[in-house]
């Protein structure tokens, strides 16, 4: 076997991806890491186009150009706050492509009636995982974009239907792999040149040839219908598994789907005997899985709980967070709040998704600087899942030049709240809900939260009384020490800044 230039290119690409990923784990080199990965991608793409004898160039270039234009335009113009759904849609595209490649390979080989069992298993895996990733990501996109309700969609017997679908995928897959025309014959033996391959072999024809037993393969021709049936069942499963997931679990599911697409790409690599697909797919599958587990840990939830817990389902709101028992909330004016802030010793800012939506991060930094000029200590409390993705808030505050030394993780800031005069909550909701600590019936019970209710006073900047992403009411707002300042986060913060200045 001679080594082709293409194989060398694939190896180099693989190395670029590994180094790129390694560099991505430090903020200093992350950008270089991303660029190295992009270069690795470029090497493989150029090599495969140069080295393979393609015929339908027009098709390739149309597809490539369309994808590049739409992808780059989408990526450039998307708002930072809409990043999660953008990642979801790119992920779904990759999964869909993997499924289609596997299907194409299946159809090409079904004509030949030549498909060893190991090949058909990887084709099925690639197609099914890719299909799940595709439909799951599309549903995740629709939910994040609020085109369908962000709240979990549940119905009776859902788990049963999912289990049944999974069984259909496995049994159908087993049928595709084992059924059809089954006969053995020699494929790779030197003798085979002289033996005609029985292309149109009748069912159950058993052609046994002398020679090396290890070269005897099982060859069969499963039906296209059975294959498509299995793949559609997998696609439906992807929809049904993601539909009931909502709230803060969304990033976890996107990360999981990301690792699924990685696996699908690796399986496609097995199908096409392509090493770079196997390497990169395995890298993404593994790192995606690890990332998913890390995120689950940050929220104190197991993966099974995320997948089957129907987080934020409106069933469990009968307890303390019952809307009918809701106390009244206290509204404050900007001047009141400004006075409260200006005469405090320590203020902890709790930024959330609302701050990101309103692009209020610069205004917040200005307000903080004014307070610091008056001798107030200002700290920022960053919940591990603040925003719609882990690390989302750090990105946004870094963009606004908030010094990183003022940013505190949950474990570090929670003991501070009892020494804090004012907790200023800007567009965060579920991560401040004390129900997570005290209300056993709450769907978020057990989730680690920021203990803002232990501060002397709590000020909540909020657009309206709408519940948060998880769709549950916040007990905090009924606390007598809590006041609300309604309005757009950016405008409210600017009003506060002005009021502090005029004091």
């Amino acid at each position: 076997m001679t080594v082709s230039l293409l194989d060398v290119a694939y190896l180099v690409s693989g190395i670029f991806f590994i180094i790129g990923l390694k560099l991505l784990s430090s903020p200093k080199h992350a950008r270089l890491g991303n660029r190295l990965s992009a270069i690795g991608m470029g090497i493989s793409l150029v090599a495969v186009m140069l080295c393979s004898g393609f015929v339908s160039w027009n098709v390739l270039l149309i597809g490539l150009a369309l994808g590049a234009v739409v992808g780059i335009a989408g990526a450039r113009f998307v708002k930072m706050t809409a990043m999660p759904q953008m990642v979801a849609i790119f992920n779904g595209a990759g999964g869909g492509a993997a499924a289609l490649v596997a299907a194409a390979d299946f159809f090409q080989h079904i004509d030949d009636r030549l498909l060893p069992a190991d090949a058909s298993i990887v084709i099925l895996l690639s197609a099914c995982i890719g299909a799940i990733s595709f439909t799951g990501s599309v549903v995740a996109y629709l939910k994040l974009q609020e085109l369908i309700g962000g709240r979990p969609i549940t119905f009776r017997g859902q788990q049963l239907i999912n289990a049944a679908l999974l069984a259909v995928v496995f049994i159908g897959g087993w049928y595709v792999v084992t059924s059809g025309v089954t006969h053995t014959h020699e494929l790779l033996s030197p003798l085979s040149a002289s033996v005609p391959i029985p292309h149109a072999a009748p069912p159950n024809l058993d052609v046994r040839l002398a020679g090396n037993a290890s070269l005897v393969r099982l060859v069969f021709a499963p039906t296209i219908e059975a294959f498509l049936f299995v793949v559609f069942a997998a696609a439906l499963l992807g929809i049904l598994v993601v539909l009931p997931i909502g709230g803060a679990d969304m990033p976890v599911i996107i990360s999981l789907l990301n690792s699924f697409t990685g696996l699908a790409a690796a399986m496609t690599g097995f199908v096409l005997n392509n090493t770079v697909l196997i390497i990169s797919g395995a890298l993404v599958g593994a790192s995606g899985t690890l990332l998913t587990l890390l995120m689950g840990k940050a929220m104190n939830r197991s993966l099974t709980n995320v997948l089957f817990g129907a987080f934020g389902a409106p069933v469990a709101t009968a307890g303390l967070s019952d809307t009918s028992s809701r106390g009244s909330v206290r509204e404050a004016s900007a001047d009141d709040v400004a006075t409260m802030l200006a005469y405090a010793r320590q203020v902890v800012v709790v930024p959330g998704y609302g701050l990101a939506v309103a692009q209020a991060q610069h205004a917040v930094r200005e307000l903080a600087e004014r307070l610091e000029a008056r001798g107030v200590v200002v700290k920022y409390a960053i919940h591990p899942v603040a925003g719609r993705m882990p690390g989302h808030m750090n990105v946004l505050l870094a963009e606004a030049n908030v010094p990183y030394t003022s940013l505190y993780d949950m474990e570090d800031i929670n003991p501070e709240f009892s020494r804090t005069d004012v907790a200023l909550i800007i567009g965060a909701n579920d991560v401040t809900n004390p129900a997570a600590r005290i209300d056993r019936s709450s769907p978020i019970y057990g989730m680690p939260i920021l203990d803002v209710d232990r501060a002397e006073r709590v000020v909540v900047l909020k657009r309206s009384m709408k519940p948060g992403f998880a769709g549950i009411d916040n007990l905090l707002y009924e606390d007598p020490r809590c006041v609300m300042l309604f309005g757009d986060a950016k405008e409210s913060v600017e009003r506060l800044g002005l009021a502090v200045k005029n004091l």
Partner: protein
């Protein structure tokens, strides 16, 4: 199982271990860009898409090929550009080192 298939499984498993090792200590600050970058990397399926599309037959094969290449290409270009944009925010004027939890 063929020898080629076994070699491929070997490569796959070793790459899985590297994948775990390489990102084991990633700070939560970088979870979003990392997720986005790995998202771009699995766009490598574009190589596979090109391989099958390059030998597709018209007309139905061509339509499917265009869709396949389009999806994979969307994944690659969109993924890398969006990651680049995110990471650009981690380059403030003053050197920004992450505070360890």
């Amino acid at each position: 199982m063929s020898a080629t298939f076994f070699t491929e499984i070997t490569i796959f498993l070793l790459a899985v271990f590297i994948g775990f090792e390489v990102i084991a200590k990633v700070p939560s600050t970088l979870h979003t860009p990392l997720m986005s970058a790995t998202n771009a990397i699995h766009g490598i399926v574009l190589v596979g898409a090109l391989i099958v599309a390059g030998v597709a037959y018209p007309p139905l094969g061509h339509v499917l090929a265009i869709v396949t290449v389009f999806l994979a290409s969307l994944n690659v270009f969109g993924g890398f550009v969006v990651t680049e944009r995110m990471l650009a925010m981690f380059q403030p004027r003053k050197p920004q080192e992450r505070r360890d939890p």
